[in-house]
Symmetry: C2
Subunit: 149 residues, 2 copies
Amino acid sequence: MDEMYMELAFKEAEKAFNILEVPVGAIVVHNGKVIATGYNMRETTKDPTAHAEIIAIKKASEYLGGWRLLDCTMYVTLEPCPMCAGAILNSRIDRLVIGTKDYKMGCCGTVVDLLHNNNFNHSVDTKFGVLETECREILKTFFKKLRQK
Amino acid sequence: MDEMYMELAFKEAEKAFNILEVPVGAIVVHNGKVIATGYNMRETTKDPTAHAEIIAIKKASEYLGGWRLLDCTMYVTLEPCPMCAGAILNSRIDRLVIGTKDYKMGCCGTVVDLLHNNNFNHSVDTKFGVLETECREILKTFFKKLRQK
C-alpha cells in the first residue's frame, strides 16, 4: 500500500525534474484518499518555502478546511529538511513515509530528528526506504545533468 | 538600531493580537530598508504554515526577485519554531534578531539549535532579547485572555 502511494509522490518528483527543479514530490493521504499533491517549485516561483511538502500541506489544509491535518499520512520522495519537518509537526500529520534519506539536510532522523523530540507537542510515526532506489536515482540523475551543464 | 526595527516587528505582533491570533510579528530588513512584514495568520487563513516569518520571507523573496535573501536581517518577536528556523536557513538570511525565547518550540538555541549546525550549508548570526519584555508580555496577555474565555 505504501509503495502505491509513494509511486504517486514519485510522479510529482518527475514533474519537478521536467521543469529543472530538484526532483522531490509529496502527497497527503486522508482516510485512503489522496487530498493533496506537490512538487518542488523553488526556482520557478523564486520562493524559498516552495518545497513539495509545504505546497502539499497548504493544499491539504485548504481541502480539509483547517490547519490540523489529523489522520493524514504524507508520502515524500526525499527526507524533509528542517523547514518541512517543522511544517509536518505544525500541521499535526500523524505519519510520514519517506523514499530516501537526505544526508545533508534531513531532519527526520538523519542529520537532526525533529519528529521525535519530547519537548515538542507532537511526534510523527516515520517510515524510511519505500521506493528508495527510484527516489534516490532521480536525484542523482538530476544533479549529474546539472553538473554537465 | 535593533530596538527601532523590533518596534516595527512588535507592531506586526499587535496586528495579530487584534484579530485573535497568537501575537507574533516579523519584518525583513535589506540594506537598512524594511522590505517585508508579516504577522501570524494561522487561524484566519487555516494554514499551518502561515506564521509571521514565513509570510515575511515570501514577501521579501517577491521583493528581491529571488529565493536567496542575501544581506537580509529578520526581526521577530518570538523565537522561531522548527519550520520557521528552517525557512530562515533555506532563504540564507544572514542575521536574526529575536524578542523573546520560546521554551516550547524555539529552534534557534532554546529547545534545538537549527541555526548553528555544522552539517547544514548555512548558519545565522542570532541575537536574543531585543524588546524582550514587550514581546513576552503581549504573548502572556493573549494567553491569559484566551484562558478566560
